[in-house]
C-alpha cells in the first residue's frame, strides 16, 4: 500500500518534470543517460516538435487572415462585389452587417448586399476603404479566428461634398478546406460626416436598411454614431488583466 502510493507520487513528479522540460526552454539539457536515456530524450523532442508545428501554423494563420481581409478591402474599394463575396464562408450562417443596415445571411445574399450597397460604386463615386489597426486572435485549434479592424473611408460623388466615414469592424473567420474565409463581417459606424462642414458640424446618422433589398435580420445591435457616444464591443479581453472591457458609466469621471 505504502509502496504503491509512493510510486504514484513519483510518477506524478516525473510528469511534472517532463512539463518543466517543455516549459523552460533555456535550462541545461540533462544528458546523463542514467537519468534520461537517448530514446527518452528523442521522445520528448518528438512531442515538442508536434507542438511547435501547431504553433507555426497558428503564427502563419495570423498573417493569412491579414491577407484575406486586405483582399476584401481592395475589392470593396474597387466596387467588385462578386469577388468580395467569394471571400466568405460556404456556410448559410455566413453574414455581413454594416452600420444599421441589418444582417444578410449566406454568400448569395452577401453578394446581393455588396452589389446594392457595401461595394456599390456608381459612376463618379469613390470609396477608398483601407483596413488598418488589426487585433487578430486565432483560436488555439486553428479553425476559427476573430479580428478587430479600423477603416477611415474617403468617399463621395464627384462634384458633390465628400464624406468621411470611420469605425471599427469586428469580424470572424473560419478555415474551410485549408483556406481562411470570412464567416462574419460586422462594421460599426463611429462617425459618418460631411467633408466640407466637418464631423463637428454635419455628422450623419448611421446608414439604414437598403429599401430595395430588405435584410434577413434586423441590426444585431442598435446604436447611434457620433455625436452619440457608443463603444462597439471588443471580441477580446484586456490582454494584460484578462478582464473583459466594456463601457461603464462609473468609469466616466474625468477629474474635472
Amino acid at each position: 500500500m505504502t509502496m504503491t502510493r509512493r510510486f504514484a507520487a513519483l510518477t506524478l513528479l516525473g510528469s511534472t518534470f517532463l512539463a518543466c522540460t517543455c516549459a523552460m526552454g533555456g535550462d541545461p539539457i540533462i544528458t546523463d543517460s542514467k537519468i534520461l536515456n537517448e530514446e527518452r530524450r528523442l521522445a520528448i523532442l518528438e512531442t515538442k516538435l508536434a507542438s511547435l508545428q501547431r504553433e507555426a501554423a497558428l503564427i502563419e494563420d495570423h498573417r493569412a487572415i491579414e491577407r484575406l481581409q486586405q483582399a476584401y478591402g481592395y475589392y470593396v474599394s474597387e466596387g467588385k462585389a462578386a469577388q468580395a463575396a467569394a471571400l466568405f464562408s460556404d456556410s448559410p450562417a455566413a453574414s455581413i452587417e454594416y452600420a444599421q443596415q441589418g444582417v444578410y445571411l449566406g454568400r448569395a445574399r452577401i453578394e446581393a448586399f455588396l452589389k446594392a450597397s457595401g461595394a456599390r460604386l456608381r459612376p463618379g463615386e469613390i470609396r477608398e476603404t483601407p483596413f488598418m489597426q488589426s487585433v487578430i486572435h486565432v483560436a488555439a485549434d486553428g479553425r476559427t479566428a476573430k479580428a478587430r479592424w479600423r477603416s477611415l473611408v474617403m468617399g463621395g460623388m464627384h462634384g458633390e461634398d465628400g464624406r468621411w466615414t470611420e469605425g471599427p469592424y469586428e469580424n470572424e473567420y473560419i478555415k474551410e478546406n485549408g483556406l481562411w474565409k470570412i464567416a462574419r463581417l460586422h462594421w460599426y459606424t463611429t462617425v459618418d460626416a460631411s467633408y466640407d462642414k466637418g464631423w463637428h458640424r454635419q455628422p450623419y446618422p448611421a446608414a439604414g436598411p437598403v429599401a430595395e433589398l430588405p435584410p434577413d435580420l434586423p441590426p444585431s445591435i442598435v446604436y447611434k454614431p457620433y455625436p452619440n457616444f457608443f463603444l462597439p464591443p471588443y471580441h477580446y479581453a484586456n490582454p494584460v488583466t484578462g478582464m473583459p472591457v466594456a463601457w461603464d458609466d462609473n468609469q466616466a469621471g474625468g477629474v474635472r
Binding site: G14, T241, R256
Partner: protein, 459 residues
C-alpha cells in the same frame, strides 16, 4: 527554480531505478530512422517560420520606406532599392536603376535631402497584401498610400493611390525591386477629393529628374474608373497560404558525422525561439492597436493596465510620467468621452521589431487623431509613436510610450493654413520629468528618432 529542479531530478531517478530491470533486458533500439524523421520535421517547421519571417520583413520594409519618405530622407529611401530596381509614380515615367531612382527623389525637393521649413510630405503606407513567390526569393505586394502634404501658408493636399510593388531577396536581404504607385486622386484640401480634376491629380510625384522610359501603363485618374492590376488574382499567386506545405527535408549530416539527440535538441531550442519571436511580433502589434482602441474611448483603467509597473509615458509636449499609476492619472486628465465628443486615436503603419532574445520589442507607428466637439470645433493631428515593450511573465506590456507631434490643425482651416503649437503640460498636473526631446512641430521640421537601422544598408 533550483529546488524544483532537484525535486524533478529525484523523481526521475526514482522512476529510472524502478524501471531499471526492464530497460536492461531490452537491447538498445536503433534511433537513426527516428532521428532522421525528427531532423526533417525541424527543417519543415523552420521553412514555414522563415516564410512568415519573410512576410513580416517585407511588411516592415514598405512601412520603413514610408517613414523615411515622409521626411524626405532620400539616401535612406534609395538604400531600400535593389541595384537594378525600377520606380514609377503616377504617369511620371519609369526610373531605372538606383542612380536614376536617387535623382528622381532628390528631384522632388530641389536637389536637397530632408524637408524645408513649412513642408509636409506625409504618405501613409496602409493595408498590406503581401504575396511571397514560390521561389522564396521574390514577392509582390499591394499597399494603399494615403497622401497628406503641402507647404505651410501656401497649399495642402489629400491624395490616395495604390502601390503594386515587387521585392527581391539578395544575399538574404529583402529589397524593393519595383515600386509602382498608381494615383487615384491628388486634390487640394479646400474642396477635397470630390472636386479634383485630372489636371490636379497629375501634379503628384513630379520630379525635376527626367525619366528613363515612359510610363509602363496609361490610365486615367479618378473620377475615371481604373483598377490597378490586382497581383494576387494571378493564378500563380492565388490562395491565402503563405508558406508551402511542410515538405522541406533536412540536409544530410556531414560525411562521417552522425545525427545525435543533442544536436537536434539544440536545433529545437533555436526553432522555439524563432517561433516565439514571430508570435511576439503579432502580440505587440495587437497590443499597440488595442491601446489605440482604448484611447479612442478614454478608457484609463484599460489603458493603464497595459503598462508595466515602472513604465514611462510621454505624449507630445506634456512631459514624462513615470509608473502605471501616473499613466492612469494622465489618462484621466483627458476627460471622459461624452455625447458630442469625438476622440479617435488611430495607430497605423506599425514597424515591429522584436529583440534577439525575444524579451523586448519596439514599434514605430503613425498616430492619426480626429477630435471633435459638436457645433464647436474639430481638429486633425498626425504624429509618430516610438514605443517599447517588455515581456513580463509571458505577457507583453508597454515599457515606454513616446508620442511625437508632427502637426495638429484646426479642421476648418487645414494644415496649409493653421498649425497648433506643441501641446504643453497639463495645468496643475506637472510631469515627473520635463519633455525629453526638445523640438518644434510643423511647420518646423523634426524627425523623431528611429528605433531601427536601415534594414538594407544597416545605416
Amino acid at each position: 527554480m533550483n529546488r524544483l529542479a532537484i525535486v524533478c531530478l529525484m523523481a526521475v531517478t526514482g522512476i529510472a531505478s524502478a524501471q531499471a530491470p526492464t530497460a536492461a533486458q531490452r537491447p538498445p533500439a536503433d534511433l537513426t530512422p527516428r532521428l532522421n524523421r525528427a531532423a526533417d520535421h525541424i527543417a519543415s517547421i523552420n521553412a514555414q517560420a522563415d516564410r512568415v519571417a519573410d512576410y513580416d520583413t517585407l511588411r516592415n520594409l514598405q512601412e520603413i520606406y514610408g517613414f523615411y519618405f515622409d521626411k524626405a530622407l532620400w539616401d535612406q529611401v534609395v538604400d531600400l532599392f535593389a541595384e537594378d530596381a525600377t520606380l514609377e509614380v503616377a504617369q511620371q515615367g519609369q526610373y531605372v536603376g538606383k542612380a536614376s531612382i536617387r535623382k528622381y527623389f532628390y528631384g522632388l525637393t530641389g536637389g536637397k535631402q530632408g524637408l524645408s521649413y513649412g513642408q509636409l510630405n506625409n504618405q501613409y503606407q496602409l493595408s498590406p497584401l503581401i504575396t511571397l513567390g514560390a521561389d522564396g526569393q521574390s514577392a509582390h505586394a499591394r499597399w494603399r498610400a494615403l497622401i497628406q502634404d503641402g507647404q505651410f501658408k501656401q497649399s495642402a493636399n489629400w491624395g490616395s493611390g495604390i502601390y503594386e510593388n515587387e521585392y527581391v531577396k539578395q544575399d538574404g536581404v529583402w529589397k524593393i525591386s519595383r515600386l509602382h504607385l498608381f494615383i487615384h486622386f491628388y486634390a487640394p484640401y479646400e474642396g477635397g477629393w470630390t472636386r479634383t480634376t485630372p489636371a490636379l491629380n497629375a501634379r503628384y510625384g513630379k520630379s525635376a529628374a527626367k525619366p528613363d522610359r515612359p510610363a509602363s501603363v496609361k490610365y486615367e485618374t479618378w473620377p475615371a474608373s481604373y483598377t490597378a492590376p490586382l497581383h494576387f488574382e494571378s493564378p500563380a499567386l492565388a490562395g491565402y497560404r503563405l508558406a508551402p506545405e511542410n515538405t522541406a527535408s533536412a540536409p544530410p549530416p556531414a560525411a562521417g558525422a552522425t545525427r545525435t539527440v543533442t544536436d537536434l535538441e539544440a536545433q529545437v531550442r533555436a526553432l522555439e525561439l524563432k517561433l516565439e519571436r514571430l508570435r511576439s511580433a503579432s502580440d505587440v502589434e495587437n497590443l499597440e492597436s488595442t491601446y489605440g482602441y482604448y484611447a479612442d474611448k478614454s478608457m484609463q483603467d484599460a489603458i493603464s493596465a497595459l503598462f508595466a509597473q515602472n513604465s514611462t509615458l510621454e505624449i507630445l509636449g506634456r512631459g514624462v510620467f513615470i509608473g502605471r499609476d501616473r499613466v492612469y492619472e494622465y489618462m484621466r486628465r483627458l476627460g471622459a468621452p461624452t455625447n458630442g465628443t469625438l476622440f479617435n486615436h488611430m495607430q497605423l503603419q506599425p514597424v515591429v521589431t522584436v529583440s534577439a532574445d525575444g524579451n523586448t520589442a519596439s514599434i514605430r507607428a503613425r498616430l492619426v487623431v480626429m477630435f471633435g466637439q459638436l457645433n464647436s470645433s474639430a481638429q486633425l493631428a498626425e504624429g509618430t509613436y516610438e514605443n517599447r515593450f517588455v515581456k513580463e511573465n509571458g505577457v507583453w506590456k508597454y515599457q515606454s510610450l513616446a508620442g511625437f507631434q508632427t502637426f495638429y490643425t484646426d479642421y476648418e482651416q487645414g494644415w496649409g493654413k493653421h498649425s497648433s503649437a506643441m501641446l504643453s503640460y497639463f495645468p496643475g498636473y506637472p510631469p515627473d520629468l520635463p519633455q525629453s526631446v526638445k523640438y518644434s512641430p510643423y511647420p518646423e521640421v523634426f524627425v523623431p528618432p528611429f528605433h531601427y537601422l536601415n534594414p538594407v544598408s544597416g545605416k
